[in-house]
């Protein structure tokens, strides 16, 4: 999805390659392309201007480094400057010892505040041992408070129930009181969406802030926002005072240039990114990855880490042993499929890789969906087998196969196909065991990515 951008940069690269020396004309030409690329990625035009000026200055002043081509040097300068700009002070939420620590969630209408409030509560409770209370002070949008209540229930965290109150400030006071009474140490306040030009409602935010003295005021911004991002972010920051930013809906294909704009005008760190509608779809923000995304360089690191997080190394080693001893069962086969599924959509995975990595291999959304459907079907078939059948497929005779087909809502032909595929994979894997875990992920690229990182980590462990 980022082809246009990377192609342009590559073109710039090519034009500059082999020139030996970086002349001003080269830099100008490169910057023209980069300007367009940034504008197309929705970076605000004013931000683009100052950004380009800074990079130009740096690139021009630089001596040519021996190991880099001049072109690489320009791209590196652009990338480094962007990472520097996007990064900055702590991306952790900063808590103090008072009770409760208040986190205020603010932003425009529909940016994702309520969903993010739920995601944050879940994250804080599950990874930082905090005891959150959620409160919605959106008394304007129809069913806004119900929405947060339902989310709270879904994530198993408490939300303040005070249907008798209809004033945001009173709701805040009541919530703080509830925290102090009950011992919740973190209060997440979901505020109503508002336009930055709405003086009355912006004043309301100031009052809430005054009243609750939040440790964090987080601006929730839709990552698909265009040029106006600077204006809304600036106003929210000027009028309320932000401590951080969360970019939502990053699971789409937006390049997310708004990140750069918002960071530039507020100076506040981007703390998290929202990557889905489910409540665990909140991720850490990594400046280098977003820089690469804005520049269209592919999100290699995210991918590798994802693979890493999901693949249990011990299990992998055990599997390797099994393969060597020819004990790879249908059950193991299913485990592997599950891991592939856990990684998310295959298309998404491939998209995270730089387009050159697979020599231009691309999976269309249709192909990806097809593959995912197939994975689901295969899993259903194996689920319908008994444990005994799963550990020894040889006993699957015709009548057993018929039963499995009925149980999984498939046909005998489909069951046969799954078993056939399992046998193929087993054969293939046996051939590959001499080469380690390669191919275990069911896709060359994924497996090798995971393995590379895995070996690296193992080595590190030994050192310690």
């Amino acid at each position: 999805m980022f082809e246009a951008l990377s192609d342009k940069l590559r073109k710039v690269l090519k034009d500059l390659r082999g020139q030996g020396r970086l002349t001003e004309a080269h830099i100008e030409a490169a910057m023209r392309e980069i300007r367009i690329a940034l504008l197309e990625a929705d970076v605000n035009f004013k931000v683009v201007k100052s950004f380009i000026d800074r990079v130009k200055e740096k690139a021009l002043g630089q001596e040519v480094i021996g190991s880099l081509s001049p072109a690489q040097q320009v791209v590196k300068a652009v990338h480094d400057e962007m990472v520097e700009m996007l990064g900055g002070t702590s991306t952790q939420l900063l808590f103090t010892r008072r009770t409760p620590n208040v986190v205020m969630i603010v932003g425009l209408q529909g940016s994702g505040k309520t969903t993010t409030t739920g995601k944050l509560a879940k994250l804080l409770a599950e990874t930082q041992n905090r005891r959150p209370l959620l409160v919605s002070v959106d008394v304007y949008r129809p069913a806004a408070r119900e929405q947060l209540s339902i989310i709270a229930k879904a994530i198993g965290q408490p939300a303040l129930q005070a249907p008798q109150l209809n004033d945001p400030l009173e709701l805040c006071r009541e919530a703080v009181r509830e925290c102090q009474l009950t011992g919740y140490d973190t209060l997440l306040i979901d505020t109503a969406g508002r336009l930055h030009v709405d003086e009355e409602l912006m004043h309301e935010l100031q009052q809430i802030k005054q009243e609750t003295q939040p440790v964090e005021v987080l601006f929730i911004a839709d990552s698909m926002t265009g040029q106006d991002a600077v204006r809304s972010a600036q106003e929210f920051h000027d009028q309320v005072g932000l401590t951080g930013v969360i970019l939502t809906k990053m699971d789409g294909d937006t390049r997310g240039g708004a990140a750069l704009s918002i960071k530039e005008v507020t100076g506040q760190p981007i703390k998290f990114i929202g990557v889905g509608e489910k409540y665990d779809a909140l991720e850490q923000f990594y400046p280098d990855r977003i820089a690469q995304r804005i520049l269209g360089m592919g999100d290699v690191l995210t991918l590798i880490e994802k693979v890493q997080a999901e693949v249990d190394e011990e299990k992998a080693l055990e599997l390797q042993k099994k393969l060597a001893q020819n004990q790879f069962t249908l059950e193991d086969f299913r485990d592997q499929l599950k891991q592939v599924k856990k990684l998310g959509s295959l298309g998404k995975l491939i998209d995270m890789l730089p387009s050159g990595l697979f020599g231009g291999l691309r999976i269309t959304p249709e192909q990806s969906a097809e593959m995912e459907d197939k994975l689901k079907l295969t899993e259903a078939v194996i689920n319908s087998m008994t444990l005994q059948e799963r550990s020894n497929h040889a006993i699957l005779n015709a009548s057993r196969r018929k039963r499995v087909a009925r149980g999984s809502g498939t046909s005998v032909a489909e069951v046969n196909k799954v078993i056939g595929e399992y046998e193929d994979m087993r054969k293939m894997m046996r051939m590959m065991t001499s080469g380690g875990l390669g191919g275990m992920m069911g896709g060359g690229g994924l497996g090798s990515g995971g393995r590379r990182k895995a070996t690296k980590r193992r080595k590190k462990k030994k050192k310690r």
């Binding site: 035009f45 529909g110 304007y140 129809p142 069913a143 809906k249 294909d253 509608e277």
Partner: protein
Amino acid sequence: MPFWKRKKEDEFISLGLNRAATVEEQVIAQKPDEPEAGFFDKFKAAVTATRENIAERLDSVIGSRRKIDADVLDELEEALIGADIGVQTSLEIIDKARLQVRRNQLGDVDELKRLIKSELQAILDSTASHRKHGTVASETEVPLRIKPYVIMVVGVNGVGKTTTIGKLAHRIKSEGNEVLICAADTFRAAANDQLAIWADRSGVHLIQQRQGTDPSAVLFDSIKSAKSRNADVLIVDTAGRLHTKTNLMNELEKMRRIASREVESAPHEVLLVMDAVTGQNGLEQARQFAKSVPVTGLVLTKLDGTAKGGIVVAIAKELGIPIRYVGIGEQMTDLVEFSTEAYINGLFD
């Protein structure tokens, strides 16, 4: 002219209802042929409200100069890009201007402004000729014997679909039509409750089912119900979805299939809702949604903010999708019909 143009004269006058007309309905019913001055002004006011418009930016560089130079063109380019019209489209317009300047065809800045305005106008008007076979431009093109007139409302998350439906239902209903809303967002928390409140406000009936139900099932139900009530219009709310999610886009396509199977030529309208703050991704959104469902028009929401929503120009140019309505606030009456003139003038003055 009334807002909703598909109705029988007599039904309109009598409102076709068993209850007393509201004050607003009476006002509308009394003068069905008056232009909607109030709404037009409201729209214009909304687009002009922002301080930093193109004309002002130009004035600031031009100063006392009358001649068009590179600075003026650069400023204009930035103004267009700043309105989210898109790099490609903006550059094309500026290149045209540059060429005319070089040929001495543009005398002064006023002529330059006129050229830009007419370029934008041409793009927005071109959507009429782009129309896909079998799609309708408005309710007037579907014979009255076909009932209900089905409007599907789609878009990415949080753009204003549900609110737009509340507003639309209110307008269509207040002109004497029997309107039914289908709550086919069975995914988002409290989506049903939100829509139920809008249905209540606008006084129309709502068909809903439990969260998690197949949206196509709710749609099927709603169509059945619409038929048995002899409803004129069925408006279908859908869950917000990113255009990159194949399974969710397939779900929309399935809904379209159900609609067309159950009602002749349905869905008659598919409105893609777009938030005015949307950047360049909006073009891809439109492209992908149009692949799954026959998008007949756009609704540009939140134009009461400072964003100009210029991506609709790029969408009109690339995909030929016209803009039908504009959202200018969170109240029930904050929906107006799109006007090319008002929109372009709003960008300039």
